[in-house]
Amino acid sequence: MNRGKIPFYLLVLSLIGAGLTTAWLRHSTTEIPLVPGEQKPVWLIEARVDFFADGGATTITLDLPDEAPAFRLIREQAASPGYGFAVLDDQKNRRAEWTKREAYGLQTLYYNAQYQPVEADTAESANLPKTQSVYWSEPQSTAARELLRGALARSSTPASTARELIKLLNPNAADQNAELLLANESSRAELLVKLLNQAEVPARQVMALKLEDARRRQVLQPMVELYADGRWLLIDSMTGEQGLPDNLLLWSRGENSQLDVIGGQNSRLTFSMIRQTVPAMALSQVQFTDNLFSMLGVYSLPIEEQSMFKMLFLLPLGAMVVVFMRVMIGLKTAGTFMPILISLAFLQTSLVPGLISFVLIVGLGLLLRSYLSYLNLLLVARIATLIVLVIFLISILSLVGYQLGFNTGITITFFPMIIIAWTIERMSILWEEEGAHEVLIQGGGSLLVAVFAFLLMNIQVISHLSFNFPELNLVILALILMMGQYTGYKLSELHRFRSMSNANDVD
């Protein structure tokens, strides 16, 4: 390789690298999907609080998930007529609070939230939690000690200790100590937490919600988390299963109460849930509005500018197609970048109507132009005349199209008129000088490039990528630079020089 070219290749490589890296970073931080129309599942969970109000001032607070592992809160709202509602955030302990001055009789409050399942966060929690001190009264104290001794003897780690304890507490195989403890403790989970803390293993009770599609009247299930190896480990206090199942949302972790009702009684907390799918694009926009990439993205602009950028960001691709067609294939086009403008117009009119109206306008324009030849006008005046005529042609075609019920009539106006006028003029001169054959070659070449560029730009994935990841245009830039260095033969030259195949090799 030529040594002088190394900086160039480095530039090309760095452009490709920068484009792909930025796009990947954007994708991974803001979760903008790489393909359009991607759907993601979310859980819509509705908590329902029923209670009888006493008739006076009422305050209800409901514990909300703070940092539910493997789930991300997308949006939340409350629906409770007549109640004031707020989400209180007190030292990472979020609670929903409903308030009303006077409430009487059966009250129902709703809180619903959308949660998106995400990869579980495996980061270690920073500070080692303290074990809670445990108080037993006799004879539970002795029973607990005995039970622990047996469990500790058969275990080596906090996790195995918990497993052995659950085995011992199993009602079918329970020994006397376990039976005594179970009889005095309302919940197995709470008992397990106490025992683990006594064994110097930090543990806490958590309330979990099992997510199943289209379930109603579900309640929170108590479970146990113990702290081992620098993070919290979830244990099912009934089965002894360890680890977090996919469909388990930890509603409350270590907080004291799920529901506080002041000014009411017979309160009841139930959950219903449904699995939904939402477009990943919308999900990304809702969640990452303050992300750096979102701020630098096109979505932060007003809609009107957005649609303009949608076109602008497609232009580099069209330019690349033109470069490819001319440098590698060797197609002749009328006007270098005229085909891109035509293909952008096709994006508005859609292909077949666009092609028909384009050919119609240029054809009619050529007819009119042939009359202009007789008038012996100055060139600039002739082009200006053509522009006026093209505008008339387009208006007439639009009107006729509209009256006939074709919508395309109106979208014809997207064709760049001055470019069309020049195209007609060039074609006409080409016709006079080189004949209809050359007009067909150049006109056909232009249309071919335009159609090819249109077909590329019209691919959903491509328009999605170019709009949402504008940095990918750096890759296109690199490819264009590469093609600018190509000194090999064009495809058309292989045809042009075909007669050389009988020639002898050079001496």
């Binding site: 060797g330 100055l378 260095q485 030259e493 292989l494 045809h495 020089f497 195949s501 050079v506």
Partner: protein
Amino acid sequence: MLISPFKLRDLGMLGMNCRNRDFIGRYNRRELYPLVDNKLETKLLAQDYDVATPQLRFVVREQHEIVHIEQQLRDLKGFAIKPAKGSGGKGIWVITHRQDANFIKSSGAEITLNDIRRHMSNTLAGLYSLGGVSDEVIVEDLIEIDDCFEGYSFEGVPDIRIVVFRGFPVMAMLRLATHASDGKANLHQGAVGVGLDLATGRCLNAVQYGMPISEHPDTKQPLKEIKIPGWQGMLTLASRCYDMTGLGYIGADLVLDANRGPELLELNARPGLAIQVANGFGLLPRLRHVEKLSEKKFANADARVAYVMQNFAKFD
């Protein structure tokens, strides 16, 4: 239908991309282009360097001057009208003689003075110039075809295209107008291209529409017998165009006038690639060869021509 790119490479064929990047882009400085893109400037420059060109009669620079052309044309029997900034032979009208008040073009078509006026008006407005910029019209003497081309030309003057690289003529081709090319000498319009041996000026190979032929399609004259008289003078004239313009890679279009000898018709800073097909081999080996030669050693055109005639000979 297609030829393999490896075969083309073995033949040393120069492709469009390679020509544009490695030769035109590298050896032709942009600011020198106007010297060759404007035929009038080329002509004036050639006069300074004593390079022979067809006799300039008059120049039309403004629209209002067109009214007066009748007097200016009165003394001219045959003449050529050229746009100064035209390319590819576009807009060139060759008037061979008059018939009453009208003019007869080389194609035999009869035109009126008004046709000429309209053509000049179009030319001034930039119809034939690159990018449509305003242009000038050159009216110059007709070239009288040398006897050696008797039977080889149909309706037009044969011209000799010589590609000159860094002052070294590297390839030459004689272009013969045909009925199909409408008197024009452009190969893609159907003119016959005859590859010429650099040492002798003899015919190497001939093509029309890219296909080998052995006789002129209209006059049926065998093309193998062509030999250009005064060949070394032709090459020297072409070689001096490099000293004149400073452009490293040019195509010089020369004609042989029966009375005035070799003359420079025009220069082209982007000479086409068809000359390779006419010769039957590629330009690239010769270009690479010349690239290695030292400029100082070959300071004058005669030395360069002598070198070329010795090294690039095809006939022994």
